[in-house]
Every structure is written in C-alpha cells, then in structure tokens.
Amino acid sequence: MRLPAGPYLLLLPAAVALAGVSIYPLFYGVRASLTRYLYGRDYGYTGLTNYKNAIHDTFFQDAMVTTAKFVICTVTIETLLGLGLAVLVSRELRGSGLIRVGLILPMTIAPVVVGVMWRLILDSGVGVTDPLFQLLGLPAPEMLAHNGTAFIAVVMVDVWEWTPLIFLILLAGLQSLPQEPLEAALVDGAGRVRLFFDHTLPLLTPVLLVAIVLRTIDAIGTFDQIYVLTKGGPGTATRLISLHAYNTAFLFTQYGQAAAMLIMLLAAVTILMVVAVRMMRRVAR
C-alpha cells in the first residue's frame, strides 16, 4: 500500500456518521441533564437538580416499576413460547416453511401498524374481543379501558409481535446443533424429555441467552405500540419509562429532567449491551 493512511480514510465518512448519532447526542444529553429548562428555554447550569427531581418523582418510580414488570412478563412468556415452538417445528414437518414465513410477518411491519391492528381488535366500539366474550355469555372485558386488562393487553401484543423472533433464533440454533451426540444418547435409551434437558438445552444455551438479552434491550425501549394502543393509560397503567420520558420532554418541555432519567436508564442498558456484545461474538465464532 503506497498510502499508509488509505484504510483509515476509508473509515472516516462512516466514523463521522456514527459519531453524529452517538457521541454527539450523548454529549448534548449529558449537558441537557445538567441544565435548567423553563418552558423549553435554556436557563443555564443547574448541577444535579434534574437527577434529584427525577429520582423523587413518583411518576418516574412508577414508570420504572411498570417497565420492569413489562419486560419480565414479555421476555419470560416469549422465551418459553418461542422455545416450545422451536422444539415442535425443528423436527422435519411438512409445511414448516409456511409457518416460518407466517411468523416473520408480525415483527417486520411497523410497530405502529401492530398497534393499529390490535386497537382495531381490542377497542370496545369496533373490536372483536368484546363481542367474542359476549358470545360466550361473559361480560365484555373492554380491555383497553381498565388498568389490569390494559397492561395484559400490551403484554399480549408484545408477545404476539416478538415471540417469532425468539422462535426463529432458536430454530436456527437447533438446526445447527450436531446430530451425532443426540443420536448416540437416543441409542443408549435416553427418553426424549431427558434428552432435551441433558443434551439439547445446554448446547442451545448460548444462542438462547443472545436472544433473551437482545429482546430485553428492545423491550426496555418499547414505545410505538403502546403509544397507539393506550398512550400509557388508563391512568398510568401502561406508562413505561419511554412514554414517561417522552411526555416529560415533549408535553411538559422539561428536557433537563427527561435527559436525566434517560441517562440513568442508559447506564443500565449499557451494561446489558456490553453483555450482549460479548455473548454474540462468542456465538458467532
């Protein structure tokens, strides 16, 4: 290579683009979290006030608890369902190609559209669920109108949308497992259930963990579907941290306090992301 700087020059445009959406906004975010804003206007440095206010804000605490509940419920259900489905389909079944294509659809379309589809199903005025319950002689649940059922509804929609991801990842993982040890164990007389827990699951664990961590990071940031389904309501029943931060910033123009919340959240997410990167590189190898 005549020009030793050549390879580095090739990286430059991409590096600028990446810095523009990561380091630069992060710098601005930290600065905003230390700034006092009134009606959206910058009133200068204010120390850690925004952080203190955020921590003492009961809505912030509620939103954190709701987010934790949401993430735990969705990721657990999705993992169990996805694993079950993958084990079912991994045995050569006719029509499993069709299932694969069908299951791709929910996670490809815009989450906003997912929200629209389920609003059309769950809404008391035009939906399907209320008439269905009445048909069975039960009272109409009006799912989006009550706290408990609204939370169940947003979890359910997330499960509908993202179980396929876990399923597809695990299916790919299962199909790449070496077959010989499994067959040897079968010959030795191991039962199918024993075989699964003793052999398949341990081999599948690295891929499973990647799926769980990626899904957890995404679930923490869930916004679009809930914005369309409930806007965080009724009351604060489905107000995740993302919706609370969005409202704080864009409805109440408290940019500083919103930035402080998000930087605290970023700290938590960063740990998860570092874990994810390590695990992914081990699996990819």
């Binding site: 975010g29 694969r100 815009a110 059309l120 990071i217 930035a259 992301m273």
Partner: protein, 275 residues
C-alpha cells in the same frame, strides 16, 4: 398409529398459531374496506359491501400523499448514503490490518450504536436539530437515519466481505485496477446478495421508525407514514376506517420486502450473531 395421533395434534396447534398470527392482518384489511356503519355494526369477517372510501379520504383529507413522499425520500437517500459509506468502511475493516485494534473495536462500536434504544437518543437529537434549525425537515431525518443505518451496514457488510476470497481482487489489481475500482468492479458484485439483504433490512427499519420521526417532525411537510398513521388517533375520536387503511398501506411494502429477504432474516435481526 401411536405416532400419528400426536402428529395430527401438532398440525392442529400449528394451524391455530397461524390463525392467531394472520387474523389481525385480515381484520385490518377487512376494516379498511368497510363503510363506517359496518365498522361499528358488529363483527363481520369480510366486507359485505366493500368500499375504497377510506383510502380515498386518507389521501384527500389526511395528507397521506405527502407522508408517503416524505417516507420514500427519507428512506431512499439515507439508505443509499449509508450503504455507500458503510460498505467502504466495512471493506477497510475486512481487508486491512489496522492499528489500535480498530478492526475489532470499530465493529463493537457499530453494534452498540445499533442497539441503543431510540428513546435514549431522541431528546439530545431534538436539542441538536433545534440548534441547527433542522427540526421538522426531511434533511434532519435523513442525517439521523444515515448515521443509524451506517452502524448496521458496517456490521453486516464486514462479515459478507470477509467471506470473499482476497485473490480475486488482487488479480484485478495486478490487471491495473486501483483499490477503489477493484472494490467497485470485483468485490461489490460478489457481495451483491449480502448488500441487497442489508439494503432491504435498512429500508424496513427506517421506513418503520416511529419515535424519532414523531419527536423531530410536526407537520405533513416532513412527517413520515408511521407518524401519519398515529395522527388519525385523535384525542376525542378515532378515524377507524382511514386508520385501518393507513395501516394497510404502511404494512404492504414492508411485507413484500420481508418475503424477499426471509432467508437472511435471522442473521439480520440478531445482528449477525446467528446465521
């Protein structure tokens, strides 16, 4: 016989799952083709007197034409730019031994940028764009999506290019090509399937984005399709018919793209961890 019965049960379960997956799509299409009276008139599983009214109103009264144009412009420009600069960077990472451990660390940085949840970015980005007077412009959205897509392109293309043998481009360079013309004439055509999959994934993710577009735009001048869909949900009243129609238009191109890349789907969604 002992084996056949569970197998029937298995197929029944899979059929049930397919119905659960497909029904919401059908119900949205169904609703989008109904008159308002029929939408509120109880459950009918197909439109008894189908109408295109909802679609017409979407474009006549709800600015859907400009949302579509904005989406197409923003997606096209940002994906083309990020594919170009991302592929060049990926080539450098795949082919040269760089200093300071850049080969590895640059990939990790790209991956981290890709994973950051959007909500963590929008407030600083809002302040930044306000600073540059780029709020509510297509250019503002293009710049942001270009950056986010570039991270994905670097990550995907690095592994695709690394799979191409070096000898071929070195032969081209012996024949008089420079690095960049060899990249363009030899590597890019060989990496074309990977490049196409990466492009389609970028298109899907960018077209679907809601939170960034919602926060940084405010009028049909720059708002994209997903934001347009959400504007139909008013404080008091929801326009269910047009909303369903908007959902159909929002989903259709993406479904077509997804079917094209379904082979690469797992690789794309797990950011290459699982192939």
């Amino acid at each position: 016989m002992r084996a056949r019965l569970p197998r029937i049960g298995l197929y029944a379960a899979l059929m049930a799952i397919l119905v659960i997956v497909i029904f919401p799509f059908w119900w949205m299409v169904d609703t989008s083709l109904k008159h308002p009276v029929d939408i509120f008139g109880g459950v009918t599983l197909y439109p008894h007197s189908p109408t295109g009214d909802n679609y017409r109103r979407l474009f006549d009264t709800y600015h859907f034409g400009s949302y579509l144009v904005n989406s197409v412009v923003v997606v096209t420009v940002s994906v083309v730019v990020s594919l170009t600069i991302g592929t060049i960077a990926a080539y450098s990472l795949a082919r040269f031994q760089l200093r300071w451990g850049l080969n590895q660390s640059a990939l990790v940085v790209a991956l981290l940028v890709r994973m950051i949840p959007g909500i963590l970015l929008v407030i600083p980005l809002y302040i930044t764009l306000a600073h540059w007077s780029l709020l509510n412009t297509r250019l503002g959205l293009i710049l942001i999506y270009t950056g986010l897509n570039t991270s994905f392109v670097i990550w995907m293309m690095q592994s695709f290019i690394a799979e191409i043998p070096r000898d071929i481009e070195e032969a081209a360079m012996v024949d008089g090509d420079s690095r960049l013309t060899a990249l363009w004439r030899v590597v890019v055509p060989l990496a074309a399937p990977g490049l196409a999959a990466t492009a389609i994934f970028s298109v899907i993710v960018t077209y679907n984005d809601f939170l960034i577009a919602l926060s940084l735009t405010s009028t049909p001048k720059a708002q994209t399709v997903p934001v347009g869909v959400s504007t139909l949900i008013g404080k008091i009243q929801i326009e269910f018919g047009p909303m369903a129609a908007a959902g159909v238009i929002g989903a259709l191109p993406i479904i077509i793209f997804a079917l094209i890349v379904q082979r690469h789907f797992v690789r794309g969604l797990t950011l290459g961890a699982v192939k």
